[in-house]
Point group: C2
Chain length 456, copies 2
């Protein structure tokens, strides 16, 4: 299929009618600022649609899920939203009833601050639909677990952020900075495509780094696959019904965020939200339409590119490996085999070492829950997207590929690992990372005098 | 229950009628020796019973299992054995039909070499029972995967080892050295106890270090729990029927080797073997007898102490943590919760950092398959074996324990982590290790010019 979209700049404010901002309000309570962002990484972001939008969401399936996730799950069900408030530095997870009160208070504060600042910007034609109420505000948090939010700082931040809303690239850049934690670079993308004769856009931003192996579902019920703090916020000006948007997001997440792993840990806060405000003015479409396919193609691209950015920027990651399992008896087997390899510490350290060690790979396949027959297994390597595979093992036997050739295949910063179980026709892919000394060093923490050195 | 056994010296030759030896025969083909062990770590061990013994075994449930494991599974079923030949430096795994031929050849070579050297040592009273045949020889291997054994070296080694058999501590020390790979120290133990009025002894040696999360069963069928290259060889002079011995070993392994994890990787070669030669001359006993309980208590102690030695000497391990989960709805839940915590890279790195991070622990509990309710979870710490627990979390809420107190609790090289899910009455324990830079550095391998840098 010909690609029916093109990448454009502008991130989350590329689609019409979206505003963004990001400020520093000292959520980690470093005590270094009073709402000022001089020299400090921003820690509170707002994304606002000038008109009410349909909404869809996917959330962590961790049984211990953070207060903002609980609030979003309730609100996304109603299918309508208008703004998202997000903080970094504090996950508002394991914070009990106070956490829930704080998450809801963040949405109320956002509703009033935005209403006070944004109404003047709304084009006259949309005025009728404009009603910014707290129940239509979604909320996200990332950072430390088990510490309640400094609500005075949060309030100051929200008020400042609402004053600063705008739709320039600089505004989007503020917002993405504000959601980063251990991320070393911002992760954002936008695409443009034709939808029912109109020009539609999708923009997205996300954060990742550690605790990355999402296993998200729409409702908190567990999907077949398991296991990031990852937050992703997607905007689009396509007109799309909430149910159709949810179906499309589930498909896109299944092929992207739910297929990545940095360390196999699943966070309490994983969240993907999409707001669709309809300002592209296309006619709405159903899930079986040609238009749906176009929308799905564009959304899949946005989600997959953002997901890959998360793996590449994972904590201490040196190498990114696409693990492709084919020839499995069932999709469940293919998924289990790919996850076992992608999460094996011995396989991951061998990737770090540039070691084409098929023994560790076949060992991980063997202990996975998938059906594996040693003398059927093929293992090989290719450059990303290159169909020419250098096989190291065929039907369980080493090939004539030389050690030097195999080392060269696993030397690049990104490569693909191909596994054929030769037992059936099912396949699965995982986007995985190596395991490095830096990952350990980063995560062993800095406990010196920190009264709340908690992950998230 | 009063302890009914005492620890003694002597390792695997402490029980009557067992001989051992260990030699260097250059199985890694370093090219530095010709059967000489001058300055080289030994790499081939023999353990021989002067009379035929009953035998029991537990083996890896990895679907990709090594040739020596396949041979042992066949032979242990027959219930009788007399010797074990073990090499390090090469796992004889993923070596196809040649691997199976080599494993069987090792047993034939051992049968003839031992028969040529040992018969003169057998006390007259046992002579009648003595018949050393290849089918009664068991075999174990550990080391690289995917490379066939250098059988000329192995043969030389077996002949030299058979000549060197003896029952002194020095002989046992040779044998345990020969099975070590990345182990930094030998792991051995022996106990003595009364059985039916007679003095019986159990001795054991093992190796571990990496690829450690055994999930062994008697037949290769998968147990409920999953997932070392670990090899363990146990000798006893107790008289015990093969079926009773197998029942006892399964119980002991379930509570020891199957409850440890270094990195969550399960090897292709995990093996535990027990030979019982009856020379203590106790009356045989059934599984419901008081004598069985005594034997079980002694065997449990041997297996648990050896298992803990494996964790303490795991690759790069700085800290050993006993993870005790209680209050689970089911044993399966307790096991799943304990394994999720014990294998979480973020929890393991926090242990390395001396960080009492309950956020990561509750996060791992939440994504485990076990039923977990955030506001029911208790998390605390104690010194090993000490019942005084310092709770950091009670019913999902941080306690008044200070950060300094909690840091002190997780500072020792060994501590216990107590988790109460408060949902039921089931419990499980895992003996786990931290994740360190040294683990990564060790396992990223040394690919410089090595034509077969494969794990195992």
């Amino acid at each position: 299929m010909k690609t029916q979209f093109k990448e454009i700049s502008g991130s989350i404010v590329a689609p019409q009618g979206f505003l963004a901002s990001g400020v520093f309000c000292d959520i980690k309570r470093l005590g270094t600022g009073k709402g000022s962002n001089k020299g400090q990484k921003r820690d509170l972001a707002l994304i606002v649609s000038e008109v009410p939008a349909t909404v869809a969401g996917m959330f962590t399936t961790n049984q211990v899920c953070a207060a903002p996730v609980k609030v979003c799950i309730e609100r996304v069900r109603k299918g309508i939203a208008q703004a998202v408030v997000v903080n970094s530095g504090n996950a508002n997870a394991c914070t009990g009833k106070q956490g829930l009160r704080d998450a809801r208070e963040m949405t109320r504060l956002t509703a009033s601050a935005v209403a006070a600042n944004v109404s003047s910007r709304i084009p006259r034609s949309h005025e009728r639909g404009y009603k910014l109420i707290a129940e239509r505000i979604l909320v996200g948090s990332t950072g430390r677990i088990g510490v309640t939010l400094p609500m005075a700082n949060v309030k100051r931040g929200i008020i400042e952020a609402a004053k600063g809303l705008g739709n320039s690239k600089a505004h989007a850049a503020q917002a993405v900075e504000a959601i980063m934690t251990s991320d070393t670079r911002p992760k954002q993308i936008a695409v443009e495509f034709k939808l029912g004769g109109k020009t539609a856009r999708i923009g997205g931003m996300c954060k990742g780094a550690g605790m990355i192996q999402p296993g998200m579902s729409a409702t908190g019920e567990r999907p077949a696959a398991l296991h990031a703090t990852m937050l992703c916020f997607i905007t689009t000006d396509a007109a799309i019904e909430a149910k159709v948007l949810q179906a499309s997001l589930q498909e896109a997440v299944a092929q992207s965020f739910n297929r990545i792993t940095v360390d196999g840990d699943m966070s309490t806060n994983d969240t993907v939200l999409v707001l669709a405000n309809g300002l592209a003015r296309n006619a709405e479409f159903g899930v079986r339409s040609a238009e749906f396919k176009k929308f799905q193609g564009a959304l899949n691209h946005v989600c997959l590119e953002l997901a890959k950015m998360i793996v590449r920027d994972g904590e201490g990651v040196h190498r990114v490996v696409t693990v492709r399992v084919n020839g499995a008896k069932t999709v469940k087997d293919a998924d289990a085999a790919a996850r076992a390899v992608a999460n094996s510490p011995l396989v991951k350290t061998s990737w770090h070492g540039g070691d084409p060690n098929w023994g560790r790979i076949i060992c991980a396949l063997g202990y996975s829950p998938a059906n594996v027959v040693e003398h059927q297994v093929d293992i090989g390597y290719s450059a990303p997207g290159n169909k020419k595979i250098l096989w190291s093992l065929k039907r369980g036997q080493p090939t004539k590929a030389t050690f030097k050739q195999l080392c060269a295949a696993v030397a690049p910063k990104e490569f693909e690992l191909h596994i054929n179980l030769n037992l059936g026709k099912a396949g699965a892919v995982m986007y995985a990372a190596d395991l490095t000394e830096e990952y350990v060093d980063f995560n062993k923490g800095d406990v010196g005098g920190d009264p709340a050195a908690l992950g998230g």
